[in-house]
Structures are given as structure tokens and as C-alpha cells.
């Protein structure tokens, strides 16, 4: 009798436990839906804005920018220093001893913009075409005007990606024009600030053959500048923005001293 009660008791408690778990699961799902409702809604029923190409552009541009920045601003450097198995482009270079360097990439910002633009172009085109497909799947007829490319400009605090085309979305005889301005995308980045400091370092290296990294870190608290002098006299500069962790690595060879005395 005792055993039977005990048995019944166990099964009752099991059932109530299951009930509690189900209630908890429903509650958790409910909370998750509540928290992620905007995203879920976007996914189920996206607006035109959600389907425009500027939404996928960050994924297309940022990796190219990071790659360029990790190699002195060039995607495939021709003149480089091998550092930690990476090819680091020389921004200012001399092959001689005791001489200051000659500028190799004078306008670094424009150079990086061009490199990133070239490298990410395919992804940008893919992004645009993907966007058009999504719009078409929602019943829109998409009419584009101009080339399906984008221009990348680095500005303080962000990367501005502007598309070189406009769109017209037609559905149910209603035309919605999407001009180039509304397609413009701003991606948060401190690359501009970093590049301007690199340009200043280039000038110092070209004139004096060296720089004092503490000066830069003193003036710009958010910037970390590392200078690693290599055995052949090349210097690897690593500039990091402390908040975004964005980094520019480049090489310079200026006023290099030989082992012993070199006769030139």
C-alpha cells in the first residue's frame, strides 16, 4: 500500500515537473520572440528598405578594408617586407644605406579606397544582384540605371559607400524610385584617422628617417603606434585604434644603418 502510494506520488511529481518544464519552455520562447520580434518580422516580412543592397554592403567592404590595412594598404603588394608571413607594403622606401626614403605611395587614403573598391567589387555586385533577386521575389520589377558598382570614400568615423546607379521598383503599377543618395551606406570605421597618422609618419620618415611614436600616442589617446625595427633597417609600423581595434600595418625603409660600415 505504502509502495503503491509512493509509486503514485512519484508519477504525480513527474507529471507536474513536465508541466513546469513545458510552461518554462513556452515562456522562454515567448521572451525570445518578444526580444527578437523586429528581426523576426524583418525576416518574415521585409520592407523595401530591408531588401536594398546597402544592407549587405558592410560584409562586402569590411573584409577587403581589413586585408588592405593589414598589408600596408595594398591587397597584393609588389614591394613588400615579409613580416609574420604577411606581405607588408613599403609606403616609403630606399634600398640604400644612410639615405632617407622615397615615397612609394604618397596618397595613401585614395590608394586604400581604390584597393578596397577593386577587391570588393565582385562582392558588391553580388550584393546588388542578391538584393534585386529578393525584391523580384516579392513581386517587384526592378529597373536599374547605371553600372552596378560602388564608390568607396573614407571619411572620419566612417566609410561611405555610394552606388553608381539608381533603381526603380515597380509593383501593381506603382513606381518607387530609389535614388543613389538613399542607397548610400555609412559603415563605422576609424580607418581615416589611422591613415592620416600613417601619412604623417611617412612624411617624417621621408624627411628625418625616423619618428617618435610617443608623440602620436600623446596627441591621440585612442591611437596606439608600434614601431618594430627589423634587422635590414626596415621598420614595421602598426597603428591601432583602441576602441574599434582597427589596425594598419605598413613598412618603411629609411635611414637604414648597415651592420658595421658599408661603403657605397
Amino acid at each position: 500500500m505504502k509502495k503503491e502510494r509512493k509509486k503514485r506520488g512519484i508519477s504525480t511529481s513527474k507529471r507536474s515537473q513536465i508541466t513546469i518544464f513545458v510552461i518554462l519552455a513556452i515562456l522562454i520562447v515567448g521572451i525570445l520572440i518578444f526580444l527578437f520580434y523586429p528581426s523576426i518580422q524583418k525576416w518574415i516580412n521585409p520592407t523595401i528598405g530591408d531588401m536594398l543592397p546597402n544592407n549587405c554592403i558592410e560584409k562586402a567592404v569590411k573584409p577587403s578594408l581589413a586585408l588592405a590595412m593589414s598589408q600596408g594598404g595594398t591587397i597584393k603588394p609588389e614591394l613588400y617586407f615579409m613580416y609574420n608571413n604577411d606581405t607588408i607594403d613599403y609606403l616609403c622606401y630606399t634600398s640604400q644605406w644612410y639615405r632617407t626614403c622615397t615615397m612609394q605611395i604618397p596618397l595613401l587614403k585614395q590608394h586604400i579606397e581604390n584597393e578596397v573598391q577593386k577587391d570588393s567589387q565582385q562582392k558588391i555586385t553580388g550584393c546588388i544582384e542578391d538584393s534585386i533577386s529578393r525584391l523580384e521575389s516579392k513581386g517587384y520589377t526592378v529597373v536599374t540605371d547605371g553600372s552596378k558598382t560602388a564608390t568607396i570614400i573614407l571619411k572620419p568615423d566612417n566609410i561611405v559607400v555610394s552606388f553608381n546607379f539608381s533603381m526603380k521598383l515597380i509593383r501593381d503599377e506603382v513606381t518607387t524610385p530609389i535614388d543613389t543618395n538613399s542607397l548610400e551606406t555609412k559603415i563605422k570605421s576609424k580607418a581615416y584617422d589611422i591613415i592620416m597618422i600613417a601619412s604623417s609618419i611617412q612624411n617624417f620618415e621621408a624627411r628625418y628617417g625616423d619618428t617618435n611614436t610617443e608623440t602620436y600616442m600623446g596627441f591621440y589617446p585612442n591611437i596606439k603606434v608600434e614601431k618594430l625595427t627589423q634587422s635590414d633597417g626596415s621598420k614595421i609600423y602598426i597603428i591601432t585604434e583602441r576602441n574599434t581595434k582597427e589596425t594598419l600595418i605598413f613598412a618603411v625603409r629609411s635611414l637604414a644603418w648597415p651592420p658595421g660600415i658599408a661603403v657605397e
Binding site: S95, Q96, C101, P106, P221, E226, T229, W257, P259
Partner: protein, 631 residues
């Protein structure tokens, strides 16, 4: 027979030396001819380099002259008309390819690049006019460019001195004026009124009329605006401190817990110097937000790690490097092995470390000890810098004062030995002899011997001297292996930095001493024969001339002394590397033809692959020594 063999050997040696010298001359000639090309682009991809013709990319221009003299590689200024920046030492072609404007001034000393004071709000930048306009465009401000201000500090001070205060604007809806704390030029009502005597308003219980109130905060009770003091704080972009913020969101004075209910503190603007804890970092202070980056703190969101302030959510965050025991901004020197006194080890290097933002950053000085790290103490603050190691002309100095003149060179005086201009090698100073200007009492050697890349040298010639023996002459020599392409500087005691090759320095340590005795007949107290010194070397190096032979102790002393000179000349001789491993590959000492010290020379010719910073002193190669000895 011996004489004939010796003559043959001498002839062979002469021919060999002549052939080597000719080769060197030829190589130098070729080198000199080849390096004087200006390559518009090299095969490695570098623009405008003076290099051998073989390195010039044939698809680009090249000419047998220095790049400075060519039109296509003349360095100039590359002006970026969009950003307003000027890049120095840029060849015309490179600038053109980058869409820049090339101007004929290597150092950009031209009008578009001349800096002036660009005032943007309360910020100042010492930049060119174009740059100023570009910055103004970025931040949506009017460019105020002043050419009369000629330095950066004055520019910043001028910008910061710009009038800032409460901008009161009427609000007809509420009847209570609105207020923003801003610059005079950004205040739309600035032209309407400015009452400096706020007590007038209070006395007559009036709200302030619309207008700009310089140095007054929006929370000033007298203004009667909707803005009131709060207990909230905030951070301001570009500033270090934690600031109070009023109920309208305007920035007020620097956070000071003791002034939270101080009406005066919420009325007028207090300068940084007038605020709490000025001159200190105030790191971790619960009551004061006067953080200062230069003193080692910056405003940051409060957290468990930073601690919490009495009011608000921000605190001065300390930037010192506690683990290293250094302050933020301090720099100091470190080395990977003992340095100085001519005892820098092979492969060792100087480093500068900097404490910035809680982090120690290590900067290596130039390798091969071409730079040394120097540091100075300013109170409790240490500052260091990598600077050139000025060892190059040490061996040229014959005067101790000149040698030890720390203003112009980094050398040390080694008494006891000198470079003899007569014998062309190192000799022991004889204190009994008056030493003239050309025979100094000591040797000037680098205080921090330089490093050489001894492991990559391929052209090797011996600078060892032949060994002879006779019953009355004992020869011993200490040899620093030399692998220079010339023997001209061997033992000369003088190395001209403009003509010497890298490893001539090691060859300076090559020394040979010929000891001569003579048999003297003694008549008293009874007739006998005795050996006595017959040359100066004998009296210098031999402790007991009557012994008729060079003792092991004398030979070892000579070898040891010579080695000490060798390793002070650079990565020469037998010495320890930076890991503490001692090797003698760079040193060989012989008594007559018998090796008495060092492992350099013929026996270890195969060991020449000992390399790098973990290797040891000068690789060696005095193969000829043994050959000579065998002959």
C-alpha cells in the same frame, strides 16, 4: 733549401694577394659602375632607386646617374588637393599615378602646403588652408584660417580661448527660456543681449533675456532657464575629464562631488586649472573628475574594475603600468644581455619600452647595435630614446680625451695597448718609454661594440701573418678571423669609415709579436752564457727573458689580452653571445705554429655556418693560416 722554399712560398703569397687585390679592385670598379643608375622602377617594384643597372626594370626608364639629377625621379612634393595634405620626397611619376599634383619642392616648402591655424569651434589644428577647409567640411563648421599664427601651441590656445557660454533662447510655448551651452558664433541669439551682471537678474527676479552669456552655465539660477543642476556626469569627445551635465543635457563644469550643491559651481565656467585635483591624474577618485591624459588618466565608464564614483557613471581611469611599476608616458631602456664597457654580447640589442594606456610597448632599437638606448631621469619620471651608436671613428682616436668625448662619440679607452703606426698592428704600451702622439698609451675602442652580419660573408681572405721559427725567435700571433675583401686595413691602426669595409674592423685585431733573445756571455762571478731580450717585444711580453722560451702563462696572457681587444672591436674574437654561450670561433692564437687559444682558423672552416643572433662571434676562416703553417 729552406730559403728556396720560403722564396717560392713568398712569391705564391704575393701572387695570391695580387690576384685578390685585383679582383677586389675589379669588383669595386664594377660595383661603382653598376650602382650609379637611377631606376625609375626596380625589378622588386620600388620606385626611383639608385641601384645597379641589373636591378632596373627594363620596362621603365633608367640612366647612369643619381635619381636626384633625373627629371623622372626628381623628388618633389605631392599635393593632395582633396585632403589638403602634402607628401614629401615623392617622384613626379609616383605622384602623377596617384592623382596628386607634383610640385618642385622636396620638403613641400610651398604655398599650398604652408600651415596656418585652422580654428574649428573650440579646436585648433595647425594645417594647410585646403586641409582646414576639408576638416571644416567634415565637421560642418566654418573654416577660420589664420596665417598670422605660426605655431601649433598658440593655435590650440587661441582656439580654446574662444568664447563659450550659455545661449539663451526664448520659448514662447513654455514661457521659460531654453538654453544651450555653446560657442558664441554658434549661438543664434548672440547678437540680442549679453548681461554680464547676473545679480541684476536675480535681484529683480527676472528671467534672462535671449542672448549669449559668456562663461556662464545654463544651470545658473540667475538665468532662469529650464536647465537645472543634476547629479549626472558625462564624457566629452576629445577631452579627458568627466563633466557634470545639467538637466538639459548641457556640459557643465568638471565633476567635483564636493561642489554638487554649490550654486557658484553651477553658475560660471571654471577652468581646468581651477578645478579639483589639478596637476594630478585623479585616477580612481570617487569625488573628482579632473582626469588628465598627460598625468595618466582618462575619463571612462565606471565598472567593477575602475571603481565607482560618488555621483554619476564615469570615473578617471588610471593609465599607469602597475605590473611594470611605471607611469603612463614613461619610457625606459632594456637590453637582452649586459651592455657597456665594450662588453656588449654578440646578437644583443637595445630596446626601448614605453608605458602607454596600461600597456608596455616594446620598441627595438636598430639591430647590430647601430642604435643604443639612452634614458634620463626627470624626478621620478624616466624617459628613454634609441639613438645612433657612434662607434665608427673610435679606432681613429689616439688621444684619451678625444676618445672619451661623450658629446661626439661612444668610445672607451683601453690602456696598455695601442695601434702602432710603425708595425701596423696592436702593440703593448711600454710605460718606461715616452710615448709620442703617434704611439699613444692606449687604444680607443667602441663603448658598445657594433654587431656584424658575419654569417653571410662569402668573400674571404686571410690577413694572418706567416709564422716563422728559429731557435732564438719565438713568434706568437693572435688572429681575429678576417673576411674582408681587402687586406689593406690590416693592422694599420687606422680605419677610414669612408673607405673601410665592414669587417676590416675585426682585422684590426690581428696581431703578431716576434720575440727575440740574444745569448750574452757573462764573465762574473764565473764565465757563463745567459739569454737576454733582444727586442722591445721581448721586454714587453715576456715575464722572464732568461727562461729562453715563451712560457704558457705569457702566451696565454698575450692571447687573452688580444682577444679582449678583438671583441671590443665588434662581433670579433672569442666571446659570448646574448644567450651566454661562449665560443672561440672568431679567435685563434698561435705560438709559433702551435695553436694555443681559440678555435678559429683552419680547423673550423666547416663551422662557418654558425649564424644569427644565437651564433657567436665572427665566423672564421683563416684557412690560409694552416696552409701557411704546413708549408
Amino acid at each position: 733549401m729552406i730559403n728556396k722554399k720560403q722564396k717560392q712560398f713568398k712569391l705564391k703569397l704575393f701572387l695570391l694577394a695580387s690576384a685578390l687585390l685585383f679582383s677586389v679592385f675589379l669588383l669595386n670598379f664594377i660595383f661603382a659602375q653598376d650602382v650609379n643608375y637611377c631606376c625609375e622602377k626596380t625589378t622588386s617594384g620600388a620606385w626611383c632607386q639608385n641601384a645597379p643597372q641589373s636591378e632596373c626594370d627594363s620596362a621603365f626608364l633608367s640612366s647612369p646617374t643619381a635619381c636626384e639629377s633625373t627629371s623622372y625621379c626628381k623628388p618633389g612634393c605631392c599635393f593632395d588637393s582633396l585632403e589638403g595634405i602634402c607628401m614629401e620626397s615623392t617622384p613626379q611619376r609616383v605622384c602623377g599615378d596617384s592623382d596628386g599634383t607634383w610640385l618642385d619642392s622636396e620638403t613641400c616648402d610651398i604655398t599650398p602646403c604652408n600651415p596656418g591655424c585652422c580654428i574649428l569651434g573650440d579646436q585648433g589644428a595647425f594645417v594647410s588652408l585646403t586641409r582646414c577647409k576639408q576638416l571644416a567640411g567634415f565637421y560642418g563648421l566654418d573654416a577660420d584660417f589664420r596665417t598670422t599664427i605660426t605655431d601649433e601651441l598658440t593655435c590650440i590656445a587661441t582656439a580654446q580661448a574662444a568664447d563659450k557660454g550659455a545661449c539663451v533662447v526664448d520659448n514662447p510655448l513654455t514661457g521659460v527660456p531654453d538654453c544651450t551651452f555653446t560657442l558664441r558664433e554658434e549661438c543664434p541669439s548672440a547678437a540680442q543681449a549679453e548681461i554680464t551682471n547676473l545679480s541684476y537678474l536675480k535681484t529683480y527676479n527676472k528671467s534672462a533675456p535671449a542672448g549669449f552669456y559668456n562663461n556662464i552655465l545654463c544651470s545658473a539660477e540667475e538665468l532662469g532657464t529650464i536647465c537645472a543642476p543634476t547629479q549626472k556626469t558625462t564624457l566629452v569627445e576629445g577631452k579627458d575629464e568627466v563633466y557634470f551635465v545639467d538637466s538639459c543635457g548641457n556640459i557643465a563644469n568638471i565633476y567635483d562631488a564636493s561642489k554638487i550643491n554649490d550654486k557658484e559651481y553651477w553658475k560660471i565656467v571654471f577652468r581646468k586649472e581651477e578645478s579639483c585635483g589639478y596637476g594630478d591624474s585623479n585616477a580612481g577618485s570617487k569625488t573628482c573628475g579632473n582626469c588628465d591624459y598627460f598625468y595618466g588618466s582618462i575619463g571612462k565608464s565606471a565598472s567593477l574594475g575602475t571603481g565607482y564614483p560618488d555621483y554619476g557613471d564615469y570615473i578617471c581611469y588610471g593609465l599607469d603600468c602597475k605590473d611594470a611599476g611605471k607611469k603612463h608616458g614613461e619610457s625606459w631602456c632594456v637590453t637582452d644581455s649586459p651592455t657597456g664597457n665594450g662588453e656588449d654580447t654578440v646578437g644583443s640589442r637595445y630596446f626601448k619600452q614605453i608605458c602607454v594606456f596600461n600597456e608596455v610597448i616594446t620598441e627595438p632599437c636598430a639591430d647590430y647595435r647601430n642604435q643604443k638606448c639612452i634614458e634620463g631621469q626627470f624626478g621620478t619620471y624616466t624617459e628613454a630614446a634609441c639613438r645612433a651608436n657612434r662607434w665608427q671613428d673610435c679606432v681613429q682616436q689616439v688621444d684619451q680625451d678625444d676618445c672619451e668625448n661623450a658629446d661626439i662619440r661612444d668610445c672607451m679607452w683601453m690602456p696598455g695597448y695601442y695601434f702602432s703606426s710603425v708595425s701596423g698592428q696592436i702593440e703593448k704600451s711600454n710605460n718606461d718609454t715616452e710615448v709620442g702622439a703617434l704611439t699613444p698609451t692606449g687604444l680607443c675602442v667602441p663603448l658598445n661594440p657594433p654587431g656584424y652580419n658575419f654569417w653571410t660573408s662569402a668573400v674571404l681572405t686571410s690577413t694572418s701573418q706567416t709564422l716563422t721559427s728559429s731557435s732564438t725567435t719565438g713568434n706568437f700571433s693572435a688572429t681575429t678571423p678576417a673576411f674582408s675583401a681587402t687586406t689593406s686595413a690590416f693592422g694599420s691602426g687606422y680605419v677610414d669609415p669612408t673607405t673601410a669595409s665592414v669587417t676590416d674592423m675585426c682585422a684590426l685585431g690581428n696581431t703578431k709579436a716576434v720575440i727575440k733573445w740574444k745569448k750574452v756571455e757573462k764573465l762574473w762571478p764565473f764565465k757563463s752564457e745567459e739569454w737576454q731580450c733582444d727586442n722591445e717585444e721581448c721586454t714587453k711580453y715576456i715575464s722572464d727573458p732568461s727562461a729562453e722560451t715563451i712560457t704558457d702563462a705569457d702566451a696565454q696572457k698575450f692571447a687573452s689580452d688580444m682577444n679582449e681587444i678583438c671583441y671590443r672591436l665588434g662581433d670579433c674574437g672569442g666571446y659570448v653571445n646574448w644567450l651566454g654561450a661562449y665560443t672561440e670561433d672568431g679567435f685563434a692564437a698561435y705560438l709559433d705554429s702551435k695553436r694555443i687559444a681559440g678555435s678559429g682558423g683552419a680547423e673550423i672552416i666547416e663551422a662557418a655556418s654558425t649564424t644569427g643572433t644565437t651564433g657567436t662571434t665572427g665566423n672564421v676562416v683563416v684557412n690560409l693560416v694552416k696552409k701557411i703553417a704546413e708549408k
